[in-house]
């Protein structure tokens, strides 16, 4: 019994350390549409990581998939980049879309709240929600692509980084639910939703 408690304590410590690391990461600026300048693989890879709003949204996609379980574990992270392409093309073509930044902030609130309140919609609805927000994120990336010095490497960089954040979300979700139980995933979900509210207000 004591060993079990010790294991739980250790697991909670690890999760807390990981959360603290993420929370204290420097340079978590708001994601942005850069109006010029250069970009290659590293800049593309850095783009989703350097903006807290992109990072939180991608992470919650993985976390939500892990919480929903079953086919959703992989269906959500596969759907997200495929739909993100549509938004990316709209951004590349320069089609004006209103309130993209608001959509991105809203994606964090909705996904965080879905995790916190353990919302389990039917698969098609979950994919629709993910798809709508993927368009907003893709647009922000796509608008930046044509001005990047090396669009190929920029696109490769940010798609890989996005995928890796999804995988991190899935990994944390599955790891936390195994070590500490399903309820513990609700806590990061709530924190993410609060972060989304901050972006929505500011």
């Amino acid at each position: 019994m004591r060993d079990r408690n010790k294991e739980r304590l250790l697991a909670a410590g690890r999760v807390a350390a990981a959360a603290a690391f993420v929370a204290l990461m420097p340079g978590l600026a708001q994601a942005h549409i850069v109006q010029g300048g250069s970009g290659g693989f590293l800049q593309g890879f850095e783009h989703p990581l350097s903006g807290a709003d992109h990072l939180l949204a991608m992470f919650s996609v993985g976390l939500w998939g892990a919480q929903l379980g079953g086919r959703n574990v992989w269906a959500l992270p596969i759907t997200f980049p495929l739909i993100m392409v549509l938004g990316g093309i709209l951004g590349i073509a320069g089609v004006p879309l209103p309130a993209i930044e608001t959509g991105i902030a809203l994606s964090i609130v909705v996904l965080g709240a879905a995790i916190a309140f353990v919302w389990r919609p039917p698969e098609w609805l979950a994919l629709t929600v993910i798809g709508l927000f993927a368009i907003c994120h893709g647009y922000a990336h796509g608008a930046e692509l044509p001005v990047a010095a090396d669009p190929a490497d920029f696109a490769i960089g940010f798609v890989i980084a996005t995928g890796l954040i999804h995988l991190a979300g899935i990994g944390v979700g599955l790891g936390v639910s195994r070590a500490l139980g399903d309820r513990m995933i609700r806590i990061p979900g709530g924190l993410i939703a609060v972060g989304g509210l901050y972006f929505l207000v500011t």
Partner: protein, 286 residues
């Protein structure tokens, strides 16, 4: 008298299983030997370039190991590795057919691809096309991949062949193609071997996720090339020349270092006579 074993008219199930496993082991051994040989060839090629040139900047395989080339190659390997064993050879052969035919008919292919926006200035978009084809095939469920692969793999092979041809870092070194083509196939083989050996359920999911990344990369970077805001050469902005001063503009000494002491050519005189002035302290000889 020793009892003779009866000859079997039909292979027994046990024998067939044994034969299959022996064949599989032979195939695996062959693949491992090919991987090892490839490592040796790549290392020798890099070492040779390093010793000859002191740098790997002009290494013949430097463009083969770039991320935009590796991603579709690894994807094609994953595709092959997850196909049932009997389907692997036809898909590999048709890929090889596409690759070789692209090298033979490259001019025709370039003409076909040229109308795409931004094609001529971005290697005829062969990189995004390769990513897109492999990504689409990988996103499909594993059991539905064979026939689409048979249809699309020649196009992937052609895109790959053209990409290899375009990215010759040596400007027509005769060893480039004989080295780059087998190394590309070798990279596919390594990825196929890994996915063929690791058959856990999560690898199928992982490969589909990877496929979705490839589709996104292909669409986005192809789109970025097509939507590139600068598609033609633009001359520099016109700068109005300064007003004429009557001092023979353009003939003044430009650099002070050229005005140093010592014998020098006489410059045009200030009296506009055509007879040049001499530097101060020097006299005109006879």
């Amino acid at each position: 008298m020793a009892e003779q074993r009866p000859r079997l008219a039909h292979p027994q199930p046990g024998n067939s299983k044994q034969q299959t496993s022996r064949l599989a082991r032979f195939g695996l051994g062959l693949a491992v030997a090919a991987v090892f040989t490839g490592v040796v060839v790549v290392a020798l090629s890099a070492g040779w370039t390093w010793f000859a040139q002191g740098t790997l900047d002009h290494w013949l395989l430097s463009t083969t190991f770039t991320i935009e080339r590796l991603l579709p190659l690894v994807g094609a390997g994953f595709l092959l590795g997850q196909l049932p064993a009997r389907f692997r050879l036809p898909v590999l052969l048709i890929l090889g057919f596409g690759l070789v035919s692209a090298l033979i008919t490259r001019d025709t292919l370039m003409l076909l691809l040229a109308p795409l926006p931004g094609a001529a200035t971005h290697f005829f978009l062969v990189g995004p096309i390769a990513c897109l084809i492999v990504g689409l095939l990988l996103v499909l469920p594993a059991q539905m991949r064979f026939w689409p692969a048979m249809i699309l793999m020649p196009s992937f092979g052609s895109a790959l062949g053209l990409a290899i041809y375009f990215s010759d870092p040596s400007l027509h070194d005769r060893f480039y193609l004989p080295l780059a083509l087998p190394v590309a196939l070798w990279l596919i083989l390594i990825a196929a071997l890994v996915t063929g050996l690791v058959t856990a359920a999560w690898t199928r999911i992982g490969v589909r996720v990877y496929g979705s990344w490839l589709v996104a990369i292909g669409m986005l970077y192809g789109g970025a090339y097509m939507a590139s805001k600068q598609t033609q050469l633009v001359p520099p902005p016109f700068v109005e020349p300064p007003p004429a001063s009557g001092d023979y503009p353009g003939f003044q000494p430009l650099l002070k270092s050229l005005d140093r002491h010592g014998p020098q050519r006489p410059v045009l005189g200030t009296d506009h006579s055509g007879i040049g002035d001499l530097p101060p302290g020097e006299e005109r000889g006879t």
